[in-house]
């Protein structure tokens, strides 16, 4: 009968597993054990249940599936004895988590055990509940836990307090029930109860403003006194760590005081003295003491201003920063990040030390320090700091270069005092770590170069030199190729020499060499090669003597397997061959890119991601209808084999084309401006002999396979409106964005082919705003509901910056199309419409609900409305 005399024992199984030489052997042993356990489970064997579960836990730790043991946990928990329950609860916490449905079955056992006469069983139940309870269980069992906060044994009270923390984290609504019992725990003497009680109060303050207010009023003084007592307490061996009585209690008290003092002058005042005492008296030669000091500094920094204390805190951080212990330096850097908002000057004093930390051998410290340096940069120190960082870039680890490069680029863009400095720094970064530079960064650089007309010669020469030494850095190569294409002649003739430059002697064939290297380099990707082809075309006109050679290089790609390259190669070749007379006009320099538009677009990169340009479609020589784009876009846009959108197609087409997730509702601010899509040089060039077509709206497929990040899109797109019309350009009629989208959205009055029709639904109505939903279904796809939302303004004032946002539970998927406008005319004189597509994964079981949030401005005053919409028809 005794389980220890038959079958393998736990100990034997562990031995057997440990004796395995290979993973395969281990798997075999585990498989055998699992099979035995399953059999035993199927036979409903009581005696071995206990041991089986222990084995399963071990197997689980090794990473094997053990779900079949879950029910065994429940059975053990339901049995009467303490040993069974103990292992059952342990298994429950290990093998299950809050998301498993099985867990709900344990609620009843938990309830019984929370009321058990044996306090250790109550303890087990509290522990399990505190570690894995779900929101439903929290609701069901909160009254039990609340009662146990007053249990006679302190060890149960402390467990109940931590369990309550879990409950209010899961269900913040329950917080108010816990305020009074939690506050009562603050008066306890038992350290365990006190610590957990304080922690519970801290958590209550986070979720409930009433709790915060109550504790602030009634308990600040008491807590200050408790802290004073523990700081001044005599030696107590039970709680002593490195000469400090209970550092854990110190830390928790300081944390709660911080919550109470934040934003409240009176309570901050009440704690000043004790904070000063902790900050000055705590021993700092052991970790425990430093933990307290660290917490104390954070509290001083967060509570209401007291000059003297802050000086004290900053000095502590200064000491930390020069400490030899890496841990202490790490937390110092961490805290200085927070201190910078309080006292930037004081942090600046430590700049040199912090900069040294960027070069530390410890990756954790480097990361912290870099983030801090980033915050420290301002107009006055940007030059020396950037120099330091760039110098370090040369010697830093490969895996740190990505972070470092991103930060340097961001600093340079943000604080650059002049263009030449900006260009210099960016070139250094590109040469050093061009492969880590994000696309948007080099796009921005091109915009800046294009605008700095006095620096074109200088830049192209610098790039030429940089290319010679760092041709493996892809983004450097791209910028160099672009600049050489545009300003190659300046490179040869030393045009626009600056005083600081050495003159270089470059021949036209040297220049062509560079582009040839770029295009032939095996590592160059499609974008680079495509850019190089354009550069070559431009050079063929700038350097007629090299024309034949360039033609050879271009022709070389006519057999390219990549359609893009092949097409470019063939078309360019024909230009060189057959259109000598107009070539030079065709390949004139790019018009200057508009910096302002670029920056605003980039700032609002998300809205820009869905913008489309209305522009003329042009008939290309090869008959394909090609949407008009500016040179850069076209150049990067490598998938333009998508035909222009027929305007009759639905909104879906637009999304497919853009391929971006359009929800949440994009703001219209940056996009509904009238865009002038300039016809670009290249397209003009390709449309020789063709005539511009009517200005039907067309979509630009600004997304290319390799560029499908949102930001680059924004960047590219941002360039669109900027290209002014070149001399012989055909003028494209401007088509405002909203018209374009209106054309795409399925008309509300027209019912879908054979989808069901629903009566219009007033989803939301307030004194100022009404939202109507027109619902429809796509035939053959009952899960998907198309919602056309119409917004009507009921006030006499115009709403601007109108944004509609919506959220749905997990079983639904929501897709928002862009709204027709972001301006809602007054008094119902017009409306905004927006299409929503809701996919119900539990169609037929659950009906649609939606929470919405509408923000807009009336007379430039922000207004926010929120609503839950649950009056959808049931069968959606």
């Amino acid at each position: 009968m005794n389980s220890f005399f038959s079958g393998t024992r736990l100990r034997d199984m562990i031995r057997a597993i440990r004796a395995c030489k290979t993973a395969a052997e281990e798997r075999a042993v585990v498989r055998k054990e699992c099979a035995a356990i399953r059999t035993s489970i199927n036979e409903n064997d009581h005696d071995y249940r206990h041991r089986n579960l222990a084995k399963l836990m071990f197997i689980h730790m090794l990473g094997y599936p053990t779900h079949f043991g879950q029910m065994e946990c429940l059975k053990l928990i339901a049995s009467a004895g303490f040993p069974e329950k103990r292992i059952g609860y342990l298994g429950l916490m290990l093998l299950l988590d809050e998301r498993q449905e099985v867990l709900m079955l344990v609620t009843n056992s938990l309830k019984q055990d929370l009321n058990h006469s044996n306090q250790y069983i109550v303890g087990l139940a509290l522990c399990a509940l505190g570690n894995i309870c779900s929101a439903e269980m929290a609701r069901d069992l909160a009254p039990e836990v609340e009662r146990l906060l007053q249990f006679r044994d302190p060890n149960i009270r402390k467990k109940a307090a931590l369990c309550s923390i879990r409950i209010i984290r899961k269900v913040p609504d329950l917080a108010e029930n816990f305020i009074n019992p939690a506050a009562a725990l603050l008066k306890e003497k038992h350290h365990g109860v006190l610590i957990t009680g304080i922690q519970l109060c801290t958590d209550l303050c986070k979720v409930s403003p009433e709790a915060l207010e109550f504790l602030r009023k009634k308990h600040t003084e008491g807590l200050v006194r408790t802290l004073k007592d523990v700081v001044n307490s005599p030696y107590t061996p039970e709680y002593d760590i490195a000469g400090i009585a209970d550092p854990f209690l110190h830390v928790r008290l300081l944390k709660l005081l911080r919550a109470l003092g934040q934003g409240d002058a009176d309570s901050s005042d009440a704690m000043n003295d004790i904070l000063a005492q902790v900050a000055t008296k705590t021993e700092s030669n052991k970790n425990a003491g430093n933990a307290i000091l660290y917490e104390c500094v954070e509290t001083i920094m967060s509570i209401e201003d007291n000059g003297g204390l802050r000086v004290l805190a900053i000095n502590i951080l200064g000491r930390f920063l020069s400490n030899r212990d890496n841990n202490i330096r790490y937390v110092a850097l961490n805290m200085l990040m927070k201190a910078i908002t309080v006292d930037a000057q004081a942090v600046q004093r430590h700049r040199a030390t912090i900069l040294e930390c960027v070069k530390d051998s410890d990756a954790s410290i480097r990361k912290r320090a870099l983030e801090l340096v980033y915050l420290l940069v301002n107009e006055t120190n940007v030059k020396p700091l950037t120099k330091e960082l760039i110098d370090y870039l040369e010697v830093s680890d490969q895996d740190f270069k990505g972070d470092l490069t991103a930060k340097i680029c961001s600093i340079v863009e943000k604080f650059s005092p002049e263009k030449i400095w900006y260009i210099d720094q960016m070139l250094k970064v590109l040469a050093e770590a061009g492969n880590f530079v994000k696309d948007e960064v080099w796009h921005a650089l091109i915009v800046v170069i294009s605008n700095a007309s006095d620096l074109h010669g200088y830049t192209v020469r610098a790039l030429y030199k940089a290319f010679k030494t760092s041709s493996e850095q892809e983004s450097l190569v791209r910028v160099a190729v672009w600049c050489i294409g545009e300003y190659g002649d300046m490179l040869m003739n030393n045009v626009g020499m600056l005083g600081i430059e050495d003159s270089v002697t470059v021949t036209d064939s040297d220049i062509v060499d560079v582009v040839e290297i770029a295009i032939k380099h095996h590592a160059s990707d499609l974008t680079t090669k495509a850019m190089a082809l354009i550069a070559l075309l431009k050079l063929s006109s700038r350097f007629p003597s090299c024309s034949e050679r360039i033609k050879d290089i271009i022709v070389h790609h006519k057999g390219s397997l990549v359609l893009e390259l092949q097409q470019r190669s063939l078309e360019f070749n024909s230009i060189i061959d057959k259109h000598q007379n107009i070539r030079s006009t065709l390949v004139e320099r790019m018009p200057i890119l508009d910096e302002a538009t670029f920056t605003t677009r980039r700032a609002g990169s998300l809205p820009a991601a869905v913008s489309t340009s209305g522009g003329a479609s042009l008939n290309l020589p090869n008959g394909a209808v090609k949407p008009s784009t500016s040179l850069l876009v076209d150049l990067l846009d490598l998938s333009d084999d998508v035909p222009a959108a027929p305007s009759s197609s639905g909104g879906d087409f637009l999304q497919d084309l853009l391929g971006v997730d359009l929800s949440p509702a994009p703001t219209q601010s940056g996009t509904n401006q009238v865009q002038k899509a300039g016809t670009d040089v290249l397209l003009d060039l390709l449309s020789i002999g063709a005539h511009p077509v009517q200005s039907s709206s067309s979509t630009t497929d600004i997304l290319s396979p390799i560029q499908n990040e949102k930001s680059p899109i924004a960047t590219l797109d941002a360039l669109l409106p900027s290209s002014s019309l070149s001399a012989q350009a055909t003028s494209a009629k401007a088509a405002p964005m909203m018209d374009l989208l209106d054309g795409f959205s399925p008309s509300p009055s027209k019912p879908e082919d054979n989808g069901s029709v629903y009566p219009p639904l007033v989803a939301f109505e307030s004194s100022s705003l009404r939202i109507t939903f027109n619902l429809s279904k796509q035939p053959g796809n009952p899960q998907i509901t198309i919602v056309l939302a119409t917004f009507t303004n009921l006030t006499p004032n115009v709403f601007t910056d109108f944004i509609f946002q919506a959220a749905v539970p997990k079983f639904l998927q929501l897709h928002l199309d862009p709204a027709s406008s972001n301006i809602l005319p007054a008094s119902g004189n017009g409306s905004i419409t927006q299409n929503l597509r809701v996919t119900n994964n539990q169609h037929g079981k659950k009906s649609i609900v939606m929470r919405t949030r509408i923000s807009y401005k009336i007379n430039n005053k922000d207004t926010l409305e929120e609503a839950q919409i649950n009056n959808f028809p049931r069968d959606l």
């Binding site: 009968m1 562990i14 440990r18 222990a54 836990m57 071990f58 730790m61 090794l62 990473g63 599936p65 004895g81 303490f82 040993p83 103990r86 342990l90 916490m93 290990l94 988590d97 998301r99 250790y120 303890g123 522990c127 505190g130 570690n131 060890n155 402390k158 467990k159 931590l162 369990c163 923390i165 879990r166 350290h191 365990g192 610590i195 957990t196 922690q199 039970e238 709680y239 760590i241 209970d246 550092p247 854990f248 209690l249 830390v251 928790r252 970790n287 425990a288 933990a291 660290y294 917490e295 890496n326 841990n327 202490i328 330096r329 790490y330 937390v331 051998s361 410890d362 954790s364 410290i365």
Partner: protein
Amino acid sequence: MIQFVLLISRQGKVRLTKWYSPYTQKERSKVIRELSGVILTRGPKLCNFVEWRGHKVVYKRYASLYFCMGIDQEDNELEVLEIIHHYVEILDRYFGSVCELDLIFNFHKAYYALDELLIAGELQESSKKTVARLIAAQDSLVEAAKEQASSLSNIISQATK
């Protein structure tokens, strides 16, 4: 709050895992795999904190075992180091100079000790003595039940002889 506790041997074997936030099985093994890669390769003099994929992890090595705790951004890293040490001392007192083998063969006891120290990712008790007393009391309850069971089975076997 402490998100998870991991004990990993120098060879990368997992000796204890405790998750206070819901992680799927897949996420768990990913965290364990990648984190042990990060931590085990760090040099001895470096700081005890690593930031990795938005997690902050405090770890400390004791003999052949790494004790790791994943924490929130706003938590006090130095205090978490103390908590780790606190736990190690509790284990040491319980097993009597603890070694990795103790934790392998008596892994459930390591869990019981942890459950007396942390609940819901928060510290429960700052006195090692109290923790030791509570574990001992529960162990003796188990022993008592076992004795009762074996004496019962003796009686039954004698009666059925």
